[in-house]
């Protein structure tokens, strides 16, 4: 311990994907709450190492889509295949154990626990010792704890949150909490990372930092990501492909450049009159 390594060295499971097909595939997914149809036949795929951004006006179904994927909502129809296995009706813990980690829109950390403990909780899946071993604190329990602490320390170094290591999360500024949330997600060694509005409410510098962390995670871990975000500059810079939803319907899906030129997308954001606009500037201004 002591040498700062790459994330790939400390989180090897992220790259252990034994399928040549897509990491994630939504196939004609329908979700409704009473009379409200949140998702209406949404289909898309995410390939290995790909960053897919999901955008759309408020109420378009973006977060519902992520909630279906993490098992919080159960779609009425359609299939969600993660690494070839249908997870549409699987419980959230089993989906997390299969390799899906998530950063929440409203930060879902343990406010009274220190940053370090929150990150160690992200390692819970990878701690391999029983209650008895934990009580006597010998042998495997101690070794496992040390090994996982080393992983967490590398994540702390990566996210540059060393000064906050021992502080309770509740006492931290918003931007730092978001980083801890991201840290806990990658501590799980996921094969698919879900990012729900990672830069909402952040200033320009915090947004740049978050963008840099996401770029570095992609470069070092090569994991697939699904990003939901309203900051169009952030989305267009980072995403490989963009999926546009409006009222639960897939409006468009393509590269950032294709989506920016798509008249249906401009109509969804700005209304009918602007549908002939050639550029995305008005779209960015609104966002």
């Amino acid at each position: 311990m002591g040498r700062v390594g790459t994330l790939a060295e400390v989180l090897p499971a992220c790259r252990e994907v034994d399928t040549n097909g897509p990491i994630l595939a939504f196939d004609d997914v329908h979700l409704s709450f009473a009379g409200v149809k949140a998702l209406r036949g949404v289909s898309f795929e995410v390939g290995r190492g790909e960053l897919l951004a999901v955008i759309g006006p408020n109420g378009a179904g973006k977060t519902s889509l992520l909630n279906c994927l993490s098992g919080l909502y159960r779609p009425q129809e359609g299939a969600i295949r993660f690494l070839g296995r249908d997870v549409a009706r699987v419980r959230p813990p089993a989906i997390a154990a299969a390799g899906v980690a998530r950063m929440f829109q409203s930060i879902a950390l343990f406010e009274n626990l220190a940053v370090l403990d929150n990150l160690m909780l992200g390692r819970h899946l990878h701690l391999r010792y029983g209650t008895l071993a934990a009580l006597v604190w010998k042998g495997r329990a101690k070794r496992e704890e040390v090994r996982n602490r080393a992983v967490v320390e590398q994540i702390i170094e990566f996210l540059e949150i060393e000064p906050y290591r021992d502080l309770p999360v509740g006492a931290l500024p918003y931007g730092i909490k978001k980083r801890v949330d991201l840290g806990r997600a990658i501590a799980m060694e996921p094969k698919l990372l879900l990012l729900d509005e990672p830069v909402a409410g952040m200033n320009a510098e915090e947004t740049q930092d978050m963008a840099r962390f996401i770029v570095d995670i992609r470069r070092e871990l090569d994991i697939a990501m699904v990003l939901v975000e309203h900051d169009m500059g952030f989305v267009m810079d980072l995403a490989d492909r963009v999926l546009v939803l409006d009222f639960g319907v897939r409006v468009a899906c393509g590269t950032p450049a294709e989506v920016q030129r798509n008249p249906d997308v401009i109509r969804a954001y700005l209304g009918q009159e602007h549908a002939t606009a050639e550029t995305v500037e008005p779209l960015q201004e609104k966002a």
Binding site: G2, R3, T6, I156, E160, E162, D216
Partner: protein, 382 residues
């Protein structure tokens, strides 16, 4: 007679006490030790590495990094290679980096991480002398394909190869050092125009070390003393207080974690010597007083006892009370043996602390006076 340099002092310490701790660095939450043997080895590898990159006597080597052991390795490695080191403040933006690199004509730049590499690459087209950029932290930089970039590990590997080919080079160069050899360029802050590089020769450094260590200004320091390096190493104050005092007196230098506040590092290290400018000491004192004001009655009473009746403003603060109290306290609690005092060094701005040790036969020595007055060194009497 051979002229001693900071690099030769480190080499001598590595020969006499190779296993003793020269410095510590906090990485991944753990304090790691660097012995004199490790230190001298790295200095030698950097010297050979620089030679392998084509650095010759009198060439400039710029260092653009936060305080960390590699800063000292590079600075001393440059001295050992008879090159001239140039420190750049980590906060300097790209335009100032361009000015400093162009003005100094640096051939090699040691850049800490992607942030500093980006600044250098943005202005590299204007710098015909700059042949190599050695980066310490690879994160984000490995994707770049500029041929001038070289990772620290590869740089040291080149040093190893060069040492195998020319094993006696560093000793031979050490024998050639003259008093008039420039060893480092320290740039002024640039408040009254573009920064100007002050040339410090081997004799200048030796004179300063003589005044600081043997001339009685700096508290008589020993290898048992602990100090924290946190002021920018590009400035001469920390270079003297940390790097030179470390080499001359063996004071153990500590580098805290990136981004951590000084108070956190101080709590970890419990230093016996603290070099600080008045601003830093005032800030520490203000933070302490704010926290004490909301502490329990017992803690407030304890604070008042040890600190004397601390006056409200720093201007009227006399260090005697602190020293007297702490001096008395040291006899019973050797663990807390540091105290601070405002002072002004005779050769520049800055302030030093006087360590209290036990047993004490003579009164503690301290330079006191208003900051900025160079001639107000007094000896305290208890």
């Amino acid at each position: 007679m051979t002229v001693a340099t900071v690099a030769s002092r480190v080499r001598d310490r590595a020969r006499t006490s190779p296993g003793a701790v020269a410095m510590r660095e906090k990485r991944l939450g753990i304090w790691l030790q660097i012995t004199w043997r490790d230190y001298a080895e790295h200095v030698e590898l950097v010297a050979h590495g620089l030679a392998a990159l084509g650095v010759e006597t009198g060439d400039r080597v710029a260092i653009h990094s936060e305080n960390r052991p590699e800063w000292l390795f590079c600075d001393l490695g440059a001295v050992a290679a008879r090159a001239i080191s140039v420190g750049i403040y980590p906060t300097n933006p790209a335009v100032e980096v361009r000015y400093l690199l162009a003005d100094s004509g640096a051939k090699v730049l040691i850049a800490e991480d992607q942030e500093q590499v980006d600044k250098a690459l943005a202005v590299k087209a204007d710098l015909p002398h700059l042949a190599w950029i050695v980066y310490i932290e690879p994160r984000g930089v490995t994707a770049y394909d500029d041929p001038a970039l070289l990772h620290w590990d590869d740089f040291l590997a080149r040093g190893r190869e060069h040492r195998a080919a020319e094993p006696g080079l560093v000793d031979a160069l050490a024998g050639e050092v003259a008093d008039t050899d420039p060893v480092t360029l320290v740039y002024t802050s640039g408040t009254t125009g573009p920064p100007k590089g002050a040339i410090l020769t081997a004799a200048n450094v030796n004179f300063a070390i003589g005044i600081l260590a043997d001339g009685g200004f700096y508290p008589a320091a020993s290898p048992a003393d602990l100090a924290v390096s946190y002021l920018p190493l590009a400035h001469v104050a920390d270079r003297a207080g940390s790097e030179w005092m470390n080499a001359q007196c063996g004071v153990q230098i500590h580098f805290g974690e990136p981004g951590c506040e000084l108070s956190q590092t101080l709590r970890d290290v419990q230093p016996s010597v603290l070099l600080g400018v008045p601003r830093v000491l005032e800030k520490l004192r203000a933070t302490t007083e704010v926290r004490i004001a909301s502490a329990s009655r017992l803690k407030r009473a304890s604070y008042r006892f040890w600190m004397g009746n601390a006056p409200p403003s720093a201007a009227s603060w006399r260090p005697t009370a602190v020293r007297t109290r702490l001096g008395r306290g040291c006899a019973t609690r050797s663990a807390t043996r540091s105290c601070t005092a405002r002072c002004a060094p005779a050769w520049g701005c800055g302030a030093a602390a006087s360590p209290c040790r036990e047993p004490r036969r003579s009164p503690p020595r301290c330079c006191s006076g208003s900051s900025g007055s160079a001639s107000s060194c007094t000896r305290s009497t208890e």
